[in-house]
Symmetry: C2
Subunit: 149 residues, 2 copies
Amino acid sequence: MEQMAIQKIDFKVQSESNSSSKSEISVRDFKVIVDEPEQLGGTNHAPNPVEYILCGLTGCVHILAYKVAKELNFELQDLKIHVSGELNPEKLFGMPTDDRAGYQNIHVKLNPITNANEDLLKKWLEIMAERSPVLDNLLNPTTVSITIG
Amino acid sequence: MEQMAIQKIDFKVQSESNSSSKSEISVRDFKVIVDEPEQLGGTNHAPNPVEYILCGLTGCVHILAYKVAKELNFELQDLKIHVSGELNPEKLFGMPTDDRAGYQNIHVKLNPITNANEDLLKKWLEIMAERSPVLDNLLNPTTVSITIG
C-alpha cells in the first residue's frame, strides 16, 4: 500500500468559565475540567494547568513507548511512567522573583516490563525522545500568539 | 499579615498502562485518561496528549485572566477562550520530514465580557502573559530528563 501523505492537523479546544479558578474545556466530544487546589486559590475540583502539562507529556511518552517497541520488535508487557516537575509559583502570584514562571525542570522515569536488553532500551528511549510532540514543545521554543476578540 | 515565603512545589503524576495507546494517570486524587483518536492509532476514549497541552494552556490563561482582572480592579463578567495549534504528525510516525514533532504555532483567543477599556485590557494581557507558567514552558526551553529504572 502506498504511503499516504499526512496533512497538518489543527487541534482545537475551547473553554467556558465556571468560576475564577475553574474552567470547563471542550475537546472534540470530551470535557476537561481544570481547577487549582485551594492553597493555589482554587476549589480543587480537578487537576491544575501545570499538572495537565505533565499528563500530556506522560501520555505522549506512553504512546511512543509502545509504538517504538513495536517498531524495534520487542514486547512491552507493562509500562509505568512517573513524571514530576519543580515550579516556583511566586511569579504566578506577581511576587518579585528571579525564577521563571513555569517548570524549572521536568523528570520522566519509565518503568518498563520487558525482556529487551539495555542497548535496545537505550535506542528505544532515543527514538521516542526524538519523535515526541509534547517533549519537543517543552524542550524547544514554540510560538504562541495571544489576542483578544 | 506578613507575606509568607512560598516554597517551590514539586508536581507529580504517574501512569498505569491501559493499552498501547491509552494511559490512566494519577494526579493527586484525580484520574486523567489519555488516548489517541482512531486515525492516530488509538481507541478514542479521551483527549490525546497534545490536546491536554492546549487544555493546560487554556486553564492557565483562564486562572490568570481572573486573577489579574481582580488586581487591576475590573470585573470579568464572563470569559471564553479558544486555543488551537497546528501539528504535523509525520515525525511522530517516524516518517521523513523537515517539520518539528510538536506544535508549530499555538493561538490563544480570549473573549472577555467586561467593561474595561482597551488600554486596560492590553495591560491585562501583558501581565497574564508574563506570569503564566504554562505559557512560559511553551515559549521558552525547559529541561526534561528521561531515564529508565
